[in-house]
């Protein structure tokens, strides 16, 4: 018999997690956990985050802090959330999921199909993470992924919400799982470029950033070569590795061109 727990505070939520162990999952919107073929298996207890008051969106100067329980539709409806962050979301993620799925849940699911992870990393986002000792720390999102940090995400902060951002997502159809999601920022001669979907699953492509830092767009050949040094793909139902490698190159090239041309507002 599984349990459904409704903590009233973050502290209580963490306590439940400690008490119920690995089988206990934090339940944001639940769209990922309840999805057919979800990677989340063997749940013994759901810890609902509904009552934790993690639903605010705060703007402070250039930074934007989003509560982990803010839904994707609420982000779309908010005027201060960077439009580019959501550029791929509206067409690819249907409203019934956007109305329930949360930003915190999307990050914590660590799916390579994520609509946000590459963009948030490009924007140098941080998260507030409460670890299993109940201590809340602000950590770079990149650390969260690279070090597989455990704990409960309570908020996400984008330090420079107006920084130019470009995002591209490639799939066979609008709602198909993407072959790759590519996101990049470029401002004042500084760039950050992330590719989600290959191996490694999440990659910062520093060897391409250096071109951009000089204000140049590498050629398709250069991109393909540089990507091949750091990124590989596997054959699967989304396509062959040759195709994936090629299309990721084309997508990166187009994204970089957009950034340099300043077409992304």
């Amino acid at each position: 018999m599984r349990e459904y727990l409704i903590p009233k505070t973050v502290k209580e939520a963490i306590q439940y997690k400690i008490e119920h162990g690995e089988g206990a999952v934090f339940l944001g919107g639940g769209t990922e956990i309840e999805r057919l073929n979800s990677s989340v298996k063997g749940v013994s207890a759901y810890i609902s985050l509904e009552a934790l008051k993690l639903k605010s969106i705060k703007v402070q100067g250039r930074s934007l802090t989003i509560g982990a329980m803010v839904t994707i539709q609420e982000l779309l409806d908010h005027t201060k959330v960077p439009k580019a962050l959501l550029a791929t979301v509206k067409d690819t993620l249907p409203r019934p999921i956007r109305n329930v799925g949360t930003l915190g849940g999307n990050i914590a699911s660590r799916r390579k199909e994520s609509y946000f992870i590459a963009s948030l990393l490009a924007l140098q986002s941080t998260i507030k993470l409460v670890n299993l000792k109940g201590i809340e720390k602000e950590v770079p999102l990149q650390d969260y992924f690279e070090r597989s940090l455990p704990g409960l995400i309570t908020s996400i902060t984008i330090p420079h919400r107006e920084r130019p951002l470009a995002v591209k997502r490639v799939g066979k159809t609008l709602r198909a799982r993407p072959v790759c999601t590519v996101a990049g920022t470029y401002e004042d001669g500084e760039s950050r470029l992330f590719v989600l979907g290959g191996t490694p699953e999440l990659l910062r492509v520093k060897n391409l950033e250096k071109y951009l830092d000089k204000g140049a767009v590498p050629t398709a050949d250069q991109i393909e070569k540089e990507l091949a040094k750091v990124l590989t793909f596997e054959d699967d139902i989304l396509g062959s590795k040759v195709y994936k490698s090629y299309i990721t190159g084309v997508t990166v090239e187009r994204l970089l061109a957009d950034l340099v041309r300043g077409e992304i507002k």
Binding site: I6, E34, R35, P94, R95, I97, I247
Partner: protein, 956 residues
């Protein structure tokens, strides 16, 4: 746990498991309209509800998540018994077709219009982005929203939702809400799942993990001991009879090569054991306890593998014939495996299972060799199509129960009478002890023409006496169902320099998978529904269908025609390129025309000798001219973006209207005591509007209101025989049966009226509304009914009719499209798609348009995105909606238009011809030709995805 929430504005406190999914919870509470099409993939939207005013999927929520919150289900929209504004608009525009998720659609559009009363096309796409509709292609939803916006300002607003035809008729050719539309759009009890009674057992199937194997040992003893298990059926205790799952006219042109359960397993997902238990959970628990030992055999998956002389044999058992056994049968059976199941041919299909051939046929007219020799140019091209799934929103489902000593089958089937025959035969029951009730069907598209689960549930009920529910999961829809047969079609076309065709050859190699259901007829149909599109003295075709171990195949809307059309029309476009001739001119020069005799049909019968047919009506002339104007054929267009190229394509298409000489439809009619009528139609309405069509036709003949003709169909205890809804037979056969019975009833009414008026019948006529008039005298149907049913009257008025024919009525069409191709990414966007179709008199114009849009979008899906992907062991890797890629509203062409081309046909009811199947035949060739026009490469296999295009462009 006590769950406090508000459902449809009523505060409730109900006990439930908070970790249970919300959709089955709501269903159990009686909210039947919250349905399940995707098992929680978050894709199809049949489970849409409002949670605190926002649309959400009930299958992606837990019961615990609704505590303290407010839920609205589609039932709320029509509380008080009246349809809501949006529901009424859906009905008026004609979008309530197979309707499994029509209630959810109404809820979504209602929420949209409350949130955005001036909703734009983009808003509609956003709102419906999470809903799949396989029936009618989304396009008319924009019209629904526009109509709703008008009615929000003026509730009395009326508009013409579709073109009208036949000024001389009151009902035929005019749009009319479907007669069963109210209950479908409101989400009332309508589908099989709504008929299941408390206490019903659940059947779950243990399925083969291997594509080709033999069960060497099976032990169900542990499973039988699980409390709540009612029975377990395996190859050891099932009926020992061979049959075909194909719901075709008896004797079927499909080999009997299937046993309810077999020791030999033919595909991943094949039946190993059925567990019937008190609950689904118990059945699943018991399945885990069945011990099976398999001897794994080498599988084959392709035609080339099946053709290899050393290939493993899929069906190695004895070959038998009911009639027409070949002289060398003994020789054929020399190496038969006695411990394998037999393959029984009802009559010769020219198959040899020991060579993996399920059926074959060859034929032609004239002299193909001579024709090709006379040609100045000959092109020979091969095209391949993939395995695609019908994906009805209502999965396959059956509910069986005993009524005394009679078996009752509530079925979602296209073929109630064939289902009854097959079950009766398997269970050794007389047909009059089996009752099939076809409920409303939430999409079939061919897959519900096969008997895929009904016979197992029926056997379980018959042997245990318990009611049994068997419902497929979405995964089972892919791995244990009916799919489009993959084919390789080679065309060889010879032509003079001026484009005159001198010879056309078509070689069809089909992959039927593990069983030979429709093995002859689907591939033959690739020839019979494409070759007659062009006129030539010399035709030849070869058809061979091979067994393999892919998931089962069968019928799919269009049958073989989409594949034949793809090969022939693309082949002709390739010929035009060789001839340096405009493809349009080539088609115009050679296409079929009104008044020609189609001699080729002499050798294209379905398992029997065919009959040449005279083309009495053909709308191709108008369809081609109009389509060419719409797409601006001949004008080359370019893009400002150097990576983008624009191209145009088109194809002409045809289908049949049922199977003259094979199909058979009946109807009966009686007059009620108030002068209204009850029409019992043998036809099977699959949501396409067949019952509405029958009501219209009868009311038209009887000069009465459509509301005064109630149509009841699909119940084998009540309605007379009909071969069923397949082969585009509904309008033509079932519609003609309705016409014929109404004409007989008209005679009855006139006779009764004349007697009452004291005049001769010759002086009487029926006059709207509902009266018999003779000069200045008249008598109402009400008075006739009262008199006839009074004790001394003539007795209730009845009529019966049976319709068979040798006359053929061919629907035709031309589909035009314009695409943009991104030369660097391989992305293809369909900028325009114009489907112009001749269905004679469009009896239900609004519904006909939906049928066209639905057929086109299905075939766009097949051409561009969909394919079942198998791994090296034969396991389908994308057996779910999230990975299979059925087109959503976001994939529809930017400019998408269906046009009805009126022609006068002498044979159909009021000139009606079939409409829906043909619509699946145009997209593949039209798109392939448009892509070539854009970037100069021919894509000769489905799907035309980005990777394939990039390879053709030498980018990868």
């Amino acid at each position: 746990m006590k769950i406090s929430c508000t459902i449809n504005r009523v505060p409730r406190e109900v006990y439930g498991d908070p970790t249970q999914k919300l959709q089955p919870f709501l269903k159990r509470l009686g909210f039947l309209s919250v349905r399940n099409s995707d098992d929680g993939a978050g894709y199809a939207g049949s489970d849409t509800i409002l949670l605190d005013g926002k649309i959400v999927y009930a299958n992606l929520l837990l019961v615990g998540q609704i505590i303290g919150r407010e839920i609205i289900t589609p039932e709320h929209l029509s509380e008080g018994g009246r349809l809501s504004l949006v529901q009424q608009c859906m009905l008026d525009v004609g979008v309530v077709q197979s309707a499994y998720n029509s209630p959810a659609t109404a809820l979504i559009l209602t929420e949209l219009l409350e949130r955005k009363p001036a909703a734009t096309k983009e808003d509609v796409i956003d709102a419906l982005g999470g809903l799949l509709n396989r029936a009618m292609g989304y396009q008319q939803f924009f019209q629904v929203v526009e109509l709703a916006k008008e009615r929000m300002k003026d509730p009395a607003f009326v508009t013409q939702v579709a073109p009208e035809f036949r000024d001389d008729l009151r009902l035929v050719g005019k749009s009319q809400p479907k007669v069963d539309g109210v209950k479908l759009v409101a989400g009332h009890r309508a589908f099989v799942e709504d008929m299941v009674e408390p206490g019903a057992c659940v059947l779950k199937m243990l399925r083969s993990p291997h594509a080709h194997a033999v069960i060497t040992k099976i032990d169900t003893s542990k499973a039988e001991k699980v409390p709540g298990v009612v029975t377990i059926i395996t190859h050891k205790n099932c009926p020992d009879k061979m049959y075909t799952s194909a719901g075709q006219g008896f004797p079927e042109p499909s080999p009997y090569d299937k046993r309810m359960f077999s020791k030999k397993l033919y595909h991943v997902g094949d039946r190993v054991a059925a567990v019937v238990a008190e609950t689904e959970e118990i059945a699943l628990q018991a399945i885990e306890k069945i011990d099976v030992t398999y001897k794994v055999l080498q599988p084959i998956f392709t035609v080339d593998q099946a053709k290899d002389p050393n290939a493993p044999v899929v069906h190695g058992g004895p070959i038998e014939y009911v009639v027409g056994a070949p002289d060398n049968l003994k020789e054929l059976n020399k190496n038969a495996q006695k411990d394998e199941d037999s393959t029984i041919f009802q009559f010769p299909l020219h198959g040899n299972p020991h060579k993996n051939i399920a059926a074959s046929v060859t034929g032609g007219i004239g002299d193909i060799e001579k024709g090709l020799k006379e040609a100045d140019v000959v092109v020979e091209r091969t095209y391949e199509t993939s395995q695609v799934q019908c994906t009805p929103m209502e999965p396959h489902i059956v509910y069986t129960k005993m009524d005394g000593d009679r078996l009752v089958i509530h079925a979602a089937t296209q073929v109630p009478y064939h289902l009854r025959r097959i079950v009766s035969t398997l269970l050794d029951l007389p047909e009059n002890r089996v009752r099939v009730i076809k409920e409303r069907v939430g999409g079939g598209y061919g897959s519900k023409q096969d008997i895929l689960l009904e016979e197992v549930a029926a056997y379980a009920t018959y042997t245990t006496g318990r009611p049994v529910l068997f419902r497929y999961t979405r995964e089972e829809e892919f791995i244990a169902c009916s799919t489009r047969k993959p084919m390789r079609v080679t065309v060889k076309i010879g032509s003079k320099k001026d484009g005159t065709l001198t010879g056309v050859y078509m070689n069809v190699e089909a992959n039927t998978g593990p069983f030979g259901n429709h093995a002859l007829t689907v591939p033959m149909n690739a020839c019979s529904k494409s070759l007659p599109l062009v006129l030539c003295d010399n035709f030849k075709f070869d058809v061979t269908t091979y067994y393999s171990n892919i998931p089962p195949t069968g019928a799919y809307q269009g049958y073989g025609a989409p594949k034949g059309s793809y090969a022939l029309m693309t082949g002709l476009a390739e010929l035009a390129e060789e001839l340096k001739m405009d493809y349009y001119d080539l088609i115009e020069k050679n296409r079929v025309r009104e008044g020609v005799m189609l001699e080729i049909l002499r050798c294209l019968g379905e398992g029997r000798e065919g009959t040449p047919a005279l083309v009495k009506s053909c709308g191709l002339d108008a369809a081609m001219k109009q389509g060419a104007e719409m797409v601006k054929w001949g004008e080359k267009e370019t893009s400002d973006n150097p990576d983008i190229a624009i191209g145009k394509g088109f194809a002409i298409i045809q289908q049949g209207s049922g199977l003259p000489g094979l199909d058979h439809s009946c109807a009966s009619m009686k007059m009620a005591a108030d002068g209204t009528f009850i029409l019992h139609s043998g036809g099977s309405d699959l949501g396409t509007g067949l019952d509405t069509l029958c009501a219209k036709v009868a009311a038209e003949v009887l000069k009465t209101d459509i509301a005064d003709v109630h149509v009841y169909s699909g119940d084998t205890d009540v309605v007379p025989f009909d071969t069923g809804a397949y082969a585009s037979s509904g309008t033509y056969f079932s519609g003609n049966a309705a016409l014929k019975v109404a004409e007989k009833m008209k005679e009855e009414v006139l006779e009764a009226g004349a007697a009452l008026l004291g005049v001769s019948i010759a002086d009487c006529e029926l006059v709207y509304p509902s009266k018999v008039v003779a000069g200045k005298k008249e008598v109402s149907f009400l008075d006739i009914a009262r008199d006839s049913q009074a004790g001394l009257g003539r007795g209730q008025l009845f009529a019966n009719a049976s319709y068979t024919t040798e006359d053929a009525a061919f629907p035709y069409g031309a589909h035009f499209c314009k695409v943009s191709v991104d030369k660097r990414s391989g992305d293809v966007k369909i900028l325009q798609y114009f489907a112009l179709q001749d269905c004679g008199t469009p009896i239900n114009p609004d519904l006909s348009l939906g049928q066209i849009y639905g057929g086109v979008l299905k075939s766009i899906g097949h051409s561009m995105y969909e394919e079942m992907i198998l791994d090296e062991n034969g396991t389908c890797l994308n057996a779910n909606f999230a990975d299979y890629l059925v087109p959503t509203i976001g994939e529809i062409p930017e400019d998408f238009r269906a046009e009805l081309i009126f022609t006068e046909d002498p044979f159909g009811p009021f000139g009606g011809k079939s409409i829906s199947e043909i619509a699946t035949n145009g997209a593949a060739p039209a798109l392939a030709i448009a892509i070539h026009d854009a970037v100069g490469v021919w894509i000769r296999s489905w799907p035309f995805n980005q990777e394939k295009l990039l390879k053709a462009l030498d980018k990868i």
